[in-house]
């Protein structure tokens, strides 16, 4: 026993001594690699079947390149096609009966990472595969609007004709393209098996980086693809590291152990701290399309009254929150569309912090103060409301605390009841199981239209199998008409006009309390040049990573 112990001790000391005396590879940055840290690990990499944004960052921006993509100015630019179809040029045609025809010209020279050619045939096959009811496709909303995709000349398969069944304003944003030769055999055998295909773990793409390895729980390694037609990526290797704890990720940034971060769960405070602690790291605060808000349940007898909703908006000091909690970086929202969305309307009714006005509105609505300072409704019941949000989200919990205090000042007692994100989104919002208020964010895109969020036929009910995202349950006839029209309006100017009118109605009726627009927060090392965060979901920090370089 004693000998055993003694030898164990000796071994231990030897290992410690050795480990302390070695020069550490980790300490020196190798400049042929860029390490990007994320607080998430992808679920799979065939994005039509998977849900996590982390997968989209790796797959859709480095390993794959789409037909067209957005740049950091949020302009569409062509990648694997020659140009973006427009009505003016005639390659986007409006046909009678509400149908459309869009013609795409593919560029030659793009290849899949196994060397096979990338053509329009891959696109038309992918469309067929995704629309098959037996494929595990997540959403078929867009696909169902498409009648067919044709490749007229099989010998020269570089032209794709997309026939649309209905008008859709964003028919020029491209389509998903997967390598037919890789997936077809499994697809013919069993479409349901596609999610477990090797492609989901080890994708063969067409982008500037090819896939090398995925060490689950740790990292994904990519390597520059030598035959990328728009120039071989300048940094040889791209490594994605998954560090789930945002504090630990922050420590890694400060210690220069990751060169860039995306989907990092950082708060503004953490970003400021990174800048303060490590001047070599740049923190990017990019305006985005993320709308933080509180849905009000309009079927509640108190909240059914517009004056009560407006009173709540007046009672909350959103300007102070923006200034104090976010250092003025995240602007107060007055409507549901963010400033950078084309349809944003700055001239809607605004609800400034005005507790006196809030109290007046509540009195008008028939509420009277009770002995404990909390209001009583006409039937004498104490006005206690419940607010729910995702448990564990620090910022939302802070906002709740502030709201609790401020609403108490106008006589509304706020009860806080938070649930884990899975339960909140899987059950509470989807089935409208929140009694009064629920706080969360919608992450939108330039393609976002009001229909899914605000049309009255999008109120989820048991009868419609919980379809739709109009969780407040807003019903307004004019709004319904505007939503329907905007969904089919191709002309940008006309569509924007519809959206602006819709927002005026919305702000007047106030089915939800708009809080603020969130920023997209990313970091990158200052010696890493050409990093241009876009702030769009789907366009991650690495959207142009083939152009990144290390400078001295």
């Amino acid at each position: 026993m004693k000998i055993l112990l003694r030898s164990l001790w000796t071994g231990l000391i030897a290992v410690l001594a050795l480990s302390l005396s070695l020069p550490w590879a980790a300490a020196q940055q190798r400049r042929d690699t860029v390490v990007i840290g994320m607080a998430q690990e992808p679920d799979c990499l065939i994005m039509a079947f998977c849900q996590m944004a982390a997968g989209a960052a790796v797959a859709n921006n480095s390993v794959f390149k789409g037909m067209v993509e957005y740049n950091d100015k949020w302009q569409l630019y062509p990648i694997t096609v020659e140009k973006i179809p427009t009505l003016k040029d005639g390659d986007w045609q409006l046909l009678p009966g509400g149908k459309m025809k869009v013609t795409w010209k593919f560029r030659r020279g793009f290849t899949w990472h196994d060397g096979k050619a990338y053509t329009a045939l891959d696109a038309s096959w992918t469309n067929l595969m995704l629309r098959n009811p037996r494929s595990p496709t997540l959403s078929r909303t867009i696909i169902n609007k498409i009648d067919n995709m044709l490749v007229p000349d099989l010998a020269q398969p570089y032209t794709l004709i997309v026939q649309w069944n209905e008008r859709y304003p964003f028919a020029n944003t491209g389509h998903t393209v997967y390598p037919r030769h890789v997936l077809e055999r499994e697809y013919l055998r069993d479409p349901a098996g596609l999610k477990a295909h090797r492609q989901a773990r080890f994708p063969i793409g067409n982008g500037p980086y090819r896939f090398v390895e995925w060490v689950p729980g740790s990292h994904i390694t990519l390597e520059a693809y030598d035959k990328y037609p728009d120039g071989v990526a300048k940094i040889r290797r791209q490594v994605w590291r998954f560090i789930l704890d945002s504090t630990v990720l922050q420590a890694n940034v400060i210690a220069n152990q990751v060169d860039a971060t995306e989907i990092n769960n950082f708060s503004i405070e953490q970003m400021l701290e990174i800048e303060r602690r490590n001047p070599q790291q740049a923190a990017h605060y990019t305006p985005a399309l993320i709308w933080e808000h509180i849905d009000l349940n309009l079927d509640n007898e108190w909240l059914r009254d517009k004056r009560v909703r407006q009173a709540i908006a007046h009672a909350i000091n959103r300007e102070e929150m923006s200034q104090k909690l976010f250092y003025g970086k995240q602007p107060v929202a007055h409507t549901w569309l963010p400033e950078r969305h084309e349809g944003f309307n700055p001239n809607v009714r605004k609800y400034a912090y005005d507790p006196a006005r809030a109290r007046a509105l509540l009195a008008e609505a028939g509420f009277t103060p009770g002995p404990d300072g909390v209001l009583r409704d006409a039937r004498g019941r104490r006005v206690e409301m419940t607010i729910m949000t995702t448990a564990g989200n620090a910022v939302r919990e802070q906002v709740q605390q502030i709201m609790k205090e401020q609403l108490r000042a106008v006589g509304i007692d706020l009860r806080i009841d938070n649930r884990p994100a899975g339960v909140l989104f899987g059950q509470v919002t989807r089935r409208r199981e929140f009694p009064h208020m629920v706080m969360y964010a919608w992450v939108m895109s330039p393609l976002t239209l009001p229909h899914a969020f605000w049309h009255s036929n999008q109120i989820p009910t048991a009868a419609n199998n919980w379809e739709g995202s109009n969780y407040p349950g807003w019903r307004n006839a004019e709004n319904d008409k505007l939503c329907d029209e905007a969904l089919q309006e191709i002309d940008t100017a006309k569509r924007v006009a519809l959206l602006k009118r819709q927002q005026e109605l919305w702000a007047e009726d106030l089915p939800a309390i708009p809080l603020y627009f969130r920023l997209s927060l990313t970091t990158s090392h200052k010696r890493l040049s050409n990093v241009k965060p876009a702030g769009l979901s789907g366009t991650y920090i690495n959207w142009n990573s083939q152009e990144w370089t290390w400078v001295q």
Partner: protein, 308 residues
């Protein structure tokens, strides 16, 4: 409890203790001797005093806290600790950390105490049933115990937290009790097994006492000593486990403050305001430490064999 390692250490002594305790009816003098022995245990005395002080602090929080509970002051965010109005500094909403620590202590200590009581109650009852009746009840309960100690408890807590909605004290105590009764049950069962063959039980039987009366009035009180020790260690264990669950986002939910969720929340600001993490961490540490010392002292005091 996962962390009450000392409880296991205690289980080690049990085998011996059972033999020793044979025939010793625990009378008045036993507790007097124990108290005298306990007083000599310096660390346990310190632990007991600190535990008492912390409990008083939590109990009296509304009257002794320097600031009103949860008063937000966005103008005083991030005040570092010092000799100002906020001795422990302020947090991300300008709330006084010392005040929050006191109120959070009420929750954390309640979690600890209530878990200890309910774990001991459930464990004693089930253990006594198993020990007294033997047979299939014993086998079934002991298989259940084997099952529950065969897997780490944290994953079970995780699943249960996701299963039971809400985020209050009741839920945490319920979860801790469902999986935490095993240690006490085994201790009591062992005690009962050795006690039930003894004279006073036989005497009780002969005098026609009912089984329930025998268990509740004679057997359990006589098996009390190890349960008291295990319960004391459970207080610290529960507080520690709650903080671990809070770290994973599944403990007591804000706005109800507990030391665990204060610590979890402070993590995000660790580099900016380390005091937010230092104080709750320190209080957890000190509390668990003092209850462990206390439990250790009680064990030595209640076990006539170990110390001379």
């Amino acid at each position: 409890m996962a962390q009450s390692t000392t409880a296991r250490e205690f289980a080690l002594d049990l085998e011996r203790r059972r033999k020793e305790a044979a025939g010793v009816a625990l009378g008045q003098s036993y507790w007097q001797i124990a108290w005298r022995r306990f007083r000599r245990h310096r660390l346990a005395m310190i632990g007991g005093t600190v535990a008492l002080a912390l409990s008083l602090m939590a109990l009296l929080a509304p009257s002794i806290a320097p600031h009103p509970f949860d008063r937000i002051d966005l103008g005083r965010r991030w005040t570092p600790p010092g000799l100002t109005a906020n001795v422990f500094g302020t947090d991300e909403l300008g709330r006084d950390v010392l005040t929050r620590i006191m109120y959070a202590g009420r929750i954390s200590l309640v979690v600890g105490y209530v878990t200890a009581v309910s774990v001991s109650a459930v464990g004693s009852l089930l253990g006594a049933l198993a020990g007294f009746y033997g047979g299939w009840i014993d086998s079934a309960l002991m298989r259940l115990v084997d099952m529950l100690i065969a897997i780490p408890t944290l994953p079970l807590y995780l699943i249960m937290s996701a299963l039971i909605p809400g985020g209050g004290v009741g839920r945490i105590v319920l979860i801790f009790t469902i999986f935490g009764w095993t240690t006490v049950a085994r201790l009591v069962r062992g005690q009962i097994l050795s006690l039930k063959t003894q004279d006073f039980v036989e005497a009780g039987r002969a005098m026609g006492a009912s089984e329930a009366r025998l268990i509740l009035r004679h057997l359990i009180p006589n098996a009390l000593a190890p349960v008291i020790v295990a319960a004391t260690l459970t207080v610290g264990g529960a507080i520690l486990t709650e903080s671990g669950l809070s770290y994973l986002g599944l403990g007591i939910q804000p706005p109800v403050p507990s030391w665990g969720n204060m610590l979890q929340r402070a993590q995000e600001y660790l580099l900016k305001a380390s005091w937010l993490a230092v104080f709750p961490g320190l209080f957890i540490f000190i509390t668990v430490l003092s209850f462990n010392f206390l439990g250790d002292g009680l064990r030595d005091a209640l076990d006539p064999r170990l110390k001379t």
